[in-house]
Amino acid sequence: MAAIIFLLSCWLQTAQAIPPLTPMDLPKLTERAERVVMGEVLTHRMELDQDGLWTVAMVRVTETLQGDHRPAIEVRVPGGHLRDMEISVSRAPDLVPGDQVLLFLDDDRVVGFGQGAFVVTEGKAWRSLHAWAFDNPKRLDTKAGDEAYYTWLTVTEVRAVFSRASASSGHPSSVEN
């Protein structure tokens, strides 16, 4: 038994030497987010500046779970299309017009690059399981329901988390359009 405990402790020490390899969980995303919203991606446009090409998505906010409520917000993600050129950036969130989304935002950026962007469908907010980042939500068409690939939170769970947080703070947590 002593040998097992010793070996187990060795394994745990090795594991502890490596930073956590799991994606940011809800509390961590919430802590880093200035604003948490649910909404629909309406349109997007491209902007080219000194830092590269950005896709600026216009999101109609249907529910604000944290932060100041605005009926619509712009979210900037790197990459996009420029005439016949596509600029790809690994791990960047891909906000597609028509998608229902849950977004954890710091100013106009997604928290954790892509980690704070979820696609909402059938009452669940989905994100790639392994990615530490976003994956193209278009893949939901073929991967939806594949829980080996995607992880999800129910929208009810998400609302409950923010509801509990607001109850303890005395501020309303949710504003709906």
Binding site: M1, W11, I18, L21, M85, I87, R91, V110, F113
Partner: protein
């Protein structure tokens, strides 16, 4: 228990992925002679010679598995910035990092709708992270990160579950795993650029369920549990 043990003992499964564009086309260079420029200016006392050496080493690492299928050429110095129109593939350090602070590097890939990559720029975050060239604890190893980012420049996407792969998506200060390609990475670059029939395995978009490091530790530990259990 036996079935579980076999499952965990399985060596690193393939997890490599290549990147697709919005048209569903795989991204890859048709022009296999790839040039690059370097802006070595940085505020972390990394010497120009060391930077050039690390970048050169990273290019050799990726071209080696495919022989004549890939060739890189250093073209000289250039001002570091993201620009799809300058016809330059620039590697540079960004002190005014405008992306998420957790990122150590980003590679932008320019491609056509048919998937042909026609350019890239690679930015390394010196605003939020410290860098070294010797794997010093607490600092990001330059070669480790550049090798990973060159994978993206070639069209290789993240390998989400093989933790010792160069294209594993996360890193930690002092990590050196990504300096050398894992079999998983080699298969990806061979799939994209090697002449001939392509990779040996059929699993083009494979996905393992157990990370390499975790599998190794568990495989070592579990037999002991089984042995003790029998004695009891």
């Amino acid at each position: 228990m036996y079935v579980l043990f076999l499952a965990i003992m399985t060596p690193d499964a393939t997890a490599w992925q290549v990147r697709n564009n919005d048209h569903g086309m795989e991204l890859r260079w048709k022009q296999i002679h790839i040039t690059y420029e370097v802006d070595p200016s940085n505020d972390q006392n990394l010497s120009d010679a060391a930077i050039d050496s690390m970048i050169s080493a990273a290019t050799r690492t990726w071209s080696q598995p495919v022989g004549d299928g890939l060739a890189f050429e250093y073209r000289g110095r250039a001002e570091g910035k993201i620009n799809p129109h300058d016809n330059k593939n620039i590697i540079y350090f960004e002190n005014d990092w405008d992306y998420d602070s957790s990122l150590v590097g980003l590679t932008f890939i320019w491609s056509h709708p048919d998937g042909e990559i026609v350019g890239f720029d690679m930015a390394l975050n010196t605003r939020d992270h410290d860098w070294s060239i010797d794997g010093s604890p607490g600092e990001n190893d330059l070669l480790n990160t550049i090798t990973h980012e060159f994978g993206h420049a070639l069209g290789v996407d993240h390998s989400p579950t093989v933790q010792t792969a160069t294209m594993f998506p996360s890193t930690y200060p002092g990590e050196l795993n990504k300096r050398d390609l894992h079999n998983d990475d080699e298969r990806a670059v061979q799939y994209l650029y090697a002449e001939g029939p392509g990779p040996e395995d059929d699993n083009v978009m494979g996905c393992s369920t157990v990370g390499a490091r975790g599998a190794a530790h568990l495989a070592w530990f579990l037999p002991l549990i089984v042995t003790v259990g029998r004695r009891q």
